[in-house]
């Protein structure tokens, strides 16, 4: 009996519970006309024969609502009637046909996720400020253009702003639950904008300084061409100046310690000869993001900085292009649609400096053969598979050649003397890359990359001295020295990254990859001239294959709007010639914004580097030998601490930073004379360098340390803007085999580094810009201490490596732009002066004994005096 009662009760209860749930599934029809919430609730009670109870103060009963569907279940009706009011319905267990409505504040908000796109180019916009106007909650779009922000349901208003773009406001109801797309239109053409999105990003703790390519037209190199590599030197962490040097120097590091990614492919060269141009056509570049600290874990393999350059995807509604000409050459950019999902971006550069330099070199400097030429070509196909999935294929090829050759002949008594020299530098670089990206859903983003690249650098010096009998033409003496430095790298690279973003407060990044290198570093010296091509001479006897694998994991947490932390590690494994090196690189960054306009950042990063560039240690012909870590040469390692304070309010920004970077296992040549020096010793040329494999025996490893303070100031005065960046630093090296193991200054140690720029519109058609750069001179080793040997001979001793400092480096650049239209094309004529007061800044120097006065001097060689430049740009 008891059992029966229990069974009956359970059945009754179950029916009751089921009945409660089934109440919500009952389909009823309500009016399809707009009416108040109160009216709909009354109608629902009558039609569904239920009782609805609620507190009138919690519900806006007067709000008018229109149902999209008049016939649906009760739950759907309640959701539609009470939309935007944060009301939850409950069914009390004791009642079968009663619904209680209660207020739930959590239902007031929702997280909106979306992509922000440049209306003009179709490219994602990074660093867009997204602000909820009601709560003042903010976030920034990331490097995918992706944002996520919490806002009030129904009342929320989101404001999208980015300097240089029109601000857009969108109401919350217009956003769907899927990933929404927001487009921003460029505001106006601002050729010299100073406070870019990079400052905003840095201010609120987004790592990396983003360089907006449209804004760099005044920050050109000395020959009037827009130059990405010149623009990054406005960063306090990058050294200004260094004429004639390719690459750049970041916080005490050498130029091979910078990872430059071009569409995800690590590049070994970024400039053409003597910095005449960079390899990037500025108009084709969408983003150039520079990291000098706070390194994201997905980047590795270099010690000092990361520069991530991405090309534009290409608009899918019309064709656009830009052509730029100057005295050295021309470049062209074209982009447009091939279909509604497929677009292209092609760019190229061609030099014509040879056309007028060659006759001058032949006529005025007696060169019988000369070549100065460079070119680049990039092509990208972008396919938008669906709104959240994209695939791109990019190819690049570029090369440089600089060649100078001359001979001279002289008759003395009955002998003929013939002397000649050939100096040649050339490099080539090409790659093919595949990039894939997909938003798997609103929380997961997947990216992958596959590429192959080839890089070659060749330096050659050939010197000969022959003596003939003038009458018989018999050879009396024949001396020849042919020196070749050859560096070739073949890379195959594959990696994948995964981002998980469950909400706006937390993000997980995971990834891994593999990079296979084949190096062929070779130096050969012969006393006969070799007429074979370089590849045959080299013969691959110095080839080395190495493999690099890595995995990383990173957590980005924003527990409150005042605080953000990035933390993670990267573990890598490097194999070469049966030897494996493994490293784990922990990294952590804190960002704290205690009050509006103020931000603090503290950063700790470890980095490892498995490839090295050995450079000709003196100022002569560059060798640029890229070599890998081996079983004898350990990878280089760096530990980096930095602190930054930033204040930014409206159009004023002040930033102060301090850093310390320590290096381990640095490489340098032990004995540092010029690799390409042809020594004439009683008519016999003496090669002092040997075959390729000996480079390991010729180098030493050591440590280094760099410390610095950096100051950055930017201010707008109406439409005029000025910017000042200053760095005070000291960088030293310590090698056991060099300088008796004592610390010595780094070759590019620069105590003071200052970059000041100012620009202003003169009228609506003219604008003016100026820039002044100052830097402490580079160091060099000078042997001026003379002493006597046991035999009484006199030799020179250098009392320390890099014991002498060149004079400070500074120059003033002036620039004006005239903007006009030709038909539908936007045109710009640029006129400028590089080094306006003709300062002869030394590129290198050596001891010179004046034979007439028997006086020892420093002979300084400068590269670029005052240089006017003229350029023309047309865009459509």
């Amino acid at each position: 009996m008891r059992v029966c009662i229990v069974v009956v009760l359970n059945t009754f209860l179950s029916c009751g519970i089921w009945a409660q749930k089934s109440l919500l599934f009952d389909v009823v029809s309500l009016s399809n006309k707009p009416q108040t919430v109160e009216a709909f609730l009354l109608e629902l009670e009558q039609v569904a024969d239920i009782q609805i109870t609620f507190s009138p103060s919690q519900i806006d009963l007067k709000k008018r609502v229109k149902l999209n569907l008049s016939t649906q279940d009760i739950a759907a009706h309640l959701k539609a009637i009470l939309k935007g009011q944060a009301i939850r319905y409950q069914i009390p267990t004791k009642s079968i046909k009663r619904i209680v409505l209660v207020k739930d504040p959590k239902l007031l908000k929702r997280t909106i996720k979306g992509l922000i796109i440049d209306e003009l180019t179709g490219d994602p916009l990074i660093g867009v400020l997204v602000r909820d106007k009601q709560s003042n909650n903010t976030c920034y779009s990331d490097d995918n253009g992706f944002f996520r922000i919490s806002t009030d349901i129904g009342n929320g208003q989101l404001e999208f702003s980015l300097l240089g773009f029109e601000t857009k406001i969108k109401n919350e109801p217009t956003f769907s639950d899927a990933i929404s797309k927001v487009t921003l239109d460029f505001d106006n053409y601002l050729p010299d904008i100073l406070i870019t999105g990079s400052e905003i990003k840095k201010f609120v703790g987004i790592p990396g300084e983003n360089i907006y390519m449209r804004n760099i037209s005044s920050y050109t190199n000395f020959l009037g061409e827009n130059n990405v590599m010149e623009e990054i030197k406005t960063s306090t962490a990058i050294q200004s100046g260094n004429e004639g040097e390719i690459g750049f120097l970041a916080r005490g590091g050498s130029s091979d310690q910078n990872l430059v990614l071009y569409e995800g492919v690590p590049m070994y060269v970024t400039d053409h000869t003597a910095g005449l141009s960079s390899i990037f056509v500025a108009d084709a570049v969408k983003d150039a993001v520079l990291y000098t600290d706070e390194f994201p874990l997905k980047y590795g393999g270099r010690l000092s900085s990361v520069l991530d350059i991405k090309l534009k995807n290409g608009k899918r509604d019309k064709t656009t292009g830009t052509i730029n000409t100057s005295i050295t050459g021309s470049n062209l950019f074209l982009s447009g649609p091939l279909s509604d999902k497929l677009s292209y971006n092609i760019s190229g550069r061609l030099s014509w400096i040879d056309l007028y330099i060659d006759p001058i070199l032949k006529r005025s400097f007696n060169y019988e053969d000369s070549q100065i030429a460079y070119q680049d070509f990039s092509g990208k196909l972008f396919y938008q598979i669906d709104p959240v999935t994209q695939l791109s294929i990019t190819g690049y090829t570029g090369n440089d050649i600089l060649k100078l050759q001359r001979t001279s002949s002289e008759v003395q008594e009955s002998k003929v003397f013939e002397v000649g020299d050939l100096n040649q530098i050339e490099w080539s670089s090409k790659f093919l890359a595949l990039n894939f990206q997909s938003f798997l859903n609103s929380n997961w983003i997947f990216k992958s990359h596959l590429s192959a690249m080839n890089y070659k650098h060749i330096s050659r010096g050939n010197y000969f001295f022959n003596e003939f009998d003038a009458e018989t033409n018999d050879t009396l003496r024949f001396n020849n020295l042919d020196i070749l430095s050859y560096s070739e790298i073949n890379d195959v690279n594959a990696y994948a990254d995964l981002q998980y973003v469950p909400n706006e407060k937390i993000q997980f990044n995971l990834g891994g990859g593999r990079l296979i290198h084949k190096f062929t570093p070779t130096i050969r010296q012969e006393t006969t001239e070799s007429f074979q091509d370089f590849e045959t001479i080299v013969n691959g006897d110095s080839s080395l294959v190495s493999s690099e694998r890595y995995l990383y994991a990173e957590l980005i947490s924003t527990p409150s709007k005042y605080f953000k932390i990035n933390a993670g590690f990267r573990t890598s494994n490097y194999s070469v010639r049966n030897k494996t090196h493994s490293f784990t690189e922990p990294r952590i960054n804190f960002n704290w914004k205690p009050r509006p306009h103020h931000a603090f950042n503290l950063s700790y990063n470890q980095m490892v580097q498995y490839v090295h560039r050995l450079v000709n240690p003196s100022g002569g012909l560059p060798a640029d030998l890229w070599v890998p870590s081996t079983e004898n040469i350990l990878p280089e390692f760096a530990t980096h601490f930095s602190f930054r304070y930033t204040y930014q309010k409206r159009d004023f920004k002040l930033s102060f930073a301090a850093y310390q970077k320590s290096f381990d296992q640095l490489l340098d040549y032990t004995n540092s004379f010029d690799l390409f020096l042809a020594v004439l010793n009683q008519g016999n040329f003496v090669p002092v360098y040997n075959t390729s494999n000996e480079w390991e025996r010729r180098v030493s490893t050591g440590t280094g340390i760099s410390r610095g303070l950096e100051l950055y100031l930017a201010k707008s005065l109406g439409e005029s803007k000025f910017r000042l960046s200053y760095a005070l630093s000291r960088t030293t090296r310590t090698f056991e085999d060099i300088n008796e193991g004592k610390e010595f200054p780094f070759r590019f140690d620069r105590t003071h580094d200052l970059n000041f720029s100012f620009n202003t519109p003169i009228s609506d058609k003219w604008d003016f810009a100026m820039r002044w750069i100052y830097g402490t001179g580079n160091t060099l080793t000078l042997a001026i201490e003379q002493f006597r040997t046991p035999e009484g001979l006199l030799l020179l001793n250098a009392n320390g490596r890099n014991n002498y400092r060149l004079v400070p480096f500074h120059h003033l650049d002036l620039h004006v732009n005239r903007i006009f239209k030709i038909r539908k094309m936007d045109c710009r004529m640029s006129l400028g002066l590089y080094n306006a007061y003709n300062r002869l800044n030394p590129v290198y120097a050596f001891l010179y004994l004046d034979p007439n006065r028997n006086d020892l001097k420093i002979r300084q060689v400068s590269l670029f005096p005052i240089i006017p430049h003229l350029g023309f740009t047309a865009s459509w």
């Binding site: 330099i357 001058i360 005025s364 400097f365 010296q525 012969e526 006393t527 240690p617 003196s618 100022g619 002569g620 004995n671 540092s672 004379f673 010029d674 020096l677 020594v679 010793n681 009683q682 016999n684 003496v686 090669p687 002092v688 040997n690 075959t691 060099l780 080793t781 000078l782 042997a783 001026i784 201490e785 003379q786 002493f787 006597r788 040997t789 046991p790 035999e791 001979l793 030799l795 020179l796 250098a798 009392n799 490596r801 002498y804 004079v807 290198y844 120097a845 050596f846 001891l847 010179y848 004994l849 004046d850 020892l856 001097k857 420093i858 002979r859 300084q860 060689v861 400068s862 005096p865």
Partner: protein, 298 residues
């Protein structure tokens, strides 16, 4: 207009060269100590100072008023050297084979400079053979020989060819480079022919305690030697093979001097000259011992 354009281009595109005075701050002259000695011979130490090459008003001077002592490391026996002439200090007692010595020089203007060295043991050579070979169209002398290495110590060897006519033979490298070796163990030189030096350098790292065979080639014009006749191998050449066993400090010093001769410090773009490997603390120069063996070349 065309000329103006050309001038502008030349101005723009040519490198500019100008000379400035060298200003390196206050120059500090250092004590220079030169002593390369053989066991069985009396000590001879030359003292001088270094000078700033850019300062024409100063000269290298001999130091005649220093205190110079040599300490035998094992017995701590001190020998005091007396100044004899022109900055040279001598002792009547000879250095001994296999001993370790410490040199100390004190002077009020230069402070105290010191150095250590060890006297190497005897050299044993066997199987010396010479031949005239043709290389690159020239007749050259090839010398093959064996060194019997002492297992109990680390040995450093330097060899070259010297003329029998020379009474006093310098052991320092010279500007005249005419030797090359195809032995892969030698230092500085390569495994390729035609890289010439004034001396050959090798350590016993790869043949310690064994009998080691090596060879080298002399490009010195055979006809220059008295009675030398490459067409008649039986005729005696006026040459000696000289093999030196040197202390490690002297070995490093001689090697760096050799490399210094192969580079130039003046009138070239080389702004990073070779560092000479001195073993003097608080000074420049060399305090090193050697043992030499001379063998007639036939």
């Amino acid at each position: 207009m065309k000329n103006l354009f050309s001038i502008l281009l030349i101005m723009v595109l040519s490198a500019c060269v100008h000379d400035t005075d060298i200003v390196v701050g206050e120059f500090q002259s250092q004590l220079v100590i030169n002593s390369i000695f053989e066991p069985g011979k009396t000590w001879s130490i030359a003292l001088s100072n270094s000078k700033d090459i850019t300062d024409n008003s100063t000269a290298i001077e001999e130091i005649t008023d220093a205190s110079v002592i040599i300490i035998e490391s094992q017995s701590r026996k001190i020998k005091e050297l007396e100044h004899s002439e022109k900055g040279i200090y001598r002792s009547s007692e000879p250095a001994e084979l296999g001993m370790e010595y410490e040199l100390e020089v004190a002077h009020p203007d230069y402070g105290v400079a010191s150095a250590f060295t060890t006297v190497p043991s005897e050299i044993e050579l066997t199987s010396i053979d010479t031949s005239i070979v043709e290389l690159d169209g020239a007749k050259v002398l090839k010398v093959d020989f064996n060194i019997v290495d002492n297992e109990e110590e680390e040995n450093f060897y330097v060899w070259d060819l010297v003329s029998s006519q020379e009474e006093e033979i310098d052991i320092l490298p010279s500007e005249e480079a005419y030797l090359t070796s195809v032995d892969g163990n030698v230092e500085i030189t390569s495994d390729r022919a035609n890289v010439q030096q004034s001396k050959i350098f090798i350590s016993d790292r790869d043949f310690n305690g064994t009998e080691y065979n090596t060879s080298f080639i002399s490009f010195r014009n055979i006809e220059n030697f008295q009675n030398g006749n490459p067409n008649n191998p039986n005729e005696q050449l006026d040459l000696k093979l000289r093999v030196l066993s040197v202390s490690e400090e002297l070995y490093n010093y001689l090697k760096s001097v050799e490399e210094s001769y192969r580079s130039q410090n003046i009138n070239t773009s080389s702004v990073n000259p070779v560092e000479i490997d001195f073993n003097i603390t608080n000074g420049l120069g060399i305090f090193g011992a050697y043992k030499q063996k001379l063998v007639d070349i036939e």
